[in-house]
Amino acid sequence: MFEEEKALVVEEVTAGYNGNIVLKDISFEMLHPSILVIMGPNGAGKTTLLKTIIGLLRPYKGRIFVFGHNAWENLSKIRKLISYVPQRERVSESVPLRVRDIVLLGRMAKKGPLSIPSRVDIKATKEALKKALVPREFWDKKFSELSGGLQQKVLIARALVTEPKILLLDEPFSAVDAPSQREIIELLARLRSKGVSSVIVTHDINPLVEYTDYVLLLNRRVIAFGKPEEVLTGENLSKAYGISVKVLAHKGVCYAIIGDYHA
C-alpha cells in the first residue's frame, strides 16, 4: 500500500491585489495524482487562487504546501514541480514564434539565461509536443496562425516539457472547439494515470465532470469542496452563483446553467 501523497495543501490562504482582498480563508487539499476543478462565477478569485499557488502572488495570510514544501519558502523548488498554462487570450500574438520554439522556451527558462539547448532539451521538446497531441506538421508553424484548440495544446506542451508533477490550467477550454476539448480532457486523464495532477480553472465543468476527483466551488471564499457529487448540489451552486441561477440535475450531479461567458 502506497502512502497517500498530498500534491497540494492550502491552509487558510487570504490573498488579493494592492491590499484589496479577493480570496479569504481558503483551505483545501488534494491527493496525488488527481484532477481538481476550481469553479465559480466571474470575479470569484479563481485566477487569483492559481496565481497564489504558483507563487506569482504572495498570500497575505496562510500557507501553501506543494508535495510538503512550503511554497513561499521554496519558490524555485515548487516551480520545478508545478507548470502553469495561462489563459490563451493572455498570450501575445505579436511575437513571431514557431510552435517548437515556444515549447523550448518553457524548457530553457528553467535552466536559466545564457544556457544553450542541448540534445536532451530538443528531444524533450519533441516528446512534450507528441504528448500534448500537437501533430508534427504544425511544429514549424507560427503560433499565431494556429486554431484555438491547437494553441491550447501547444501551451500544454510547453508546460509538460519540464516534466512537472502538477499542471495548473487557467480556462483551458475557452474558445476551443469541442473535439479538441475532448482530446485535452482525455490527455489530462491520461496524465493523471502517469502521475501528473491537474488543477483546472473553468466556468464550465460539464464536459469534465466524469474525470474530476475534486471540485472547489469558489466565490471569494470556499463555498464547497469535495467530490463532484457532493459539491455540485443545487444549494451549493445557488450559493456560489446567486439565487437566480437555474440548476439542472443529471446522474446525481447538478449543473448550473450560467451561459458561456467569461471576463
Binding site: Y84, S92, D101, L105, K110
Partner: protein
C-alpha cells in the same frame, strides 16, 4: 552623374553610411524587441522626451548655466521617461498604460517645443534634433554610435530568449521562474538607449520609422525571431542607403527620404500579403 567614388571618399558621406549600417543593426535588434513587446508608441514618447532633454541641454549651454551636452540631456530625459512608464506600467492593463504613455507623449512634446522656443542662437542645433544630421556626423558622434550599438546588439542577442518569453507570455515566464521585472526594465533601457542614439543621426520624428517600420514589416514575413532580425536589417539598410544616395542627388534631408522609402516597402509588402 557625380562620381560615386568621389562621394564615397567624402568623410561625411562615409560616416553617414556607417551610421546607417549601425542604425540598421539597432533596428534589427531593439526595433524588433519593441514590436514583440507591443511598445511602438513608447518609441515616439521617448524620442520626444529625448528631444526635450537635448533642447534643454542646449538652452542651459546657451545661458551658460550648467554645461551638459545635448546627448547627455537626451539620454537623461529619454531613459527616465521610459523607466517611469515601465515601472508604473508593469502591473497595469494595456489600455491604461497606453493612456499614460499618451499623456507622457503630449508632455514631452510640449517640453520639447518649450525648450526649443527658448533657444535663440543655436536654433539650428535644435532643428537638427528634429530632422537629424545624417550628413553632418562628426567622428566622435560615430564612435559613440558604434559603442552604444555594440552594447545594444550584444545584450539583445544574449538575452533574446528571455525577452521573447516575457513578451510572449509574461505570467508564464514568471511562473517558470524568470525575473520578469528585471528583463522588462532591461528591455526598456535598451529600447530607450537606441532611440537616443538614433536621434542624432535621423532626428526625433524618423526614429519611429527606423525603429518600427522595418521590424513591423519583417514581422509580417518571418515565422521566427531570427528571420525577423535579418529581414529588418536588410530593409533598414536598403532604405537607409537608397535614401542617402537619393538625397545626395536631389538635395533634400536624407532622413525624410529614408522614411518614405521604408514606408513604401512596408505598404508594398502589407498589400501583397493581404
Amino acid at each position: 552623374m557625380p562620381d560615386i567614388l568621389a562621394l564615397l571618399s567624402d568623410p561625411f558621406v562615409l560616416r553617414a553610411i556607417i551610421a546607417i549600417f549601425l542604425a540598421s543593426m539597432i533596428s534589427a535588434t531593439a526595433g524588433n524587441l519593441t514590436i514583440f513587446r507591443g511598445l511602438s508608441f513608447l518609441i515616439a514618447t521617448v524620442a520626444h522626451a529625448a528631444m526635450a532633454g537635448a533642447a534643454f541641454a542646449i538652452f542651459l549651454q546657451e545661458y551658460s548655466l550648467i554645461p551638459i551636452t545635448p546627448i547627455l540631456g537626451a539620454s537623461l530625459f529619454g531613459i527616465s521617461i521610459s523607466l517611469f512608464l515601465g515601472v508604473i506600467g508593469n502591473r497595469m492593463s494595456g489600455e491604461r498604460l497606453e493612456a499614460i504613455t499618451g499623456i507622457a507623449f503630449a508632455l514631452s512634446m510640449s517640453l520639447a517645443i518649450l525648450f526649443i522656443s527658448l533657444i535663440k542662437e543655436y536654433a539650428v542645433q535644435a532643428w537638427g534634433l528634429i530632422m537629424g544630421d545624417l550628413l553632418l556626423l562628426t567622428l566622435s558622434d560615430v564612435l559613440l554610435m558604434i559603442i552604444t550599438t555594440m552594447v545594444i546588439v550584444f545584450i539583445s542577442i544574449l538575452l533574446m530568449r528571455e525577452f521573447l518569453f516575457i513578451s510572449f507570455d509574461p505570467e508564464g515566464a514568471e511562473a517558470s521562474g524568470l525575473k520578469t521585472f528585471a528583463y522588462h526594465i532591461l528591455m526598456l533601457l535598451l529600447i530607450s538607449l537606441s532611440v537616443v542614439v538614433l536621434i542624432k543621426a535621423v532626428g526625433a520624428i524618423l526614429v519611429y520609422v527606423i525603429m518600427i517600420i522595418p521590424a513591423a514589416t519583417a514581422n509580417r514575413l518571418a515565422n521566427k525571431p531570427s528571420s525577423t532580425m535579418y529581414i529588418a536589417f536588410i530593409i533598414s539598410l536598403f532604405s537607409g542607403l537608397f535614401g542617402l544616395f537619393l538625397a545626395l542627388y536631389v538635395d533634400v534631408a536624407p532622413s525624410a527620404l529614408i522614411g518614405i522609402i521604408a514606408t513604401l516597402i512596408y505598404l508594398a509588402i502589407t498589400l501583397r500579403r493581404s
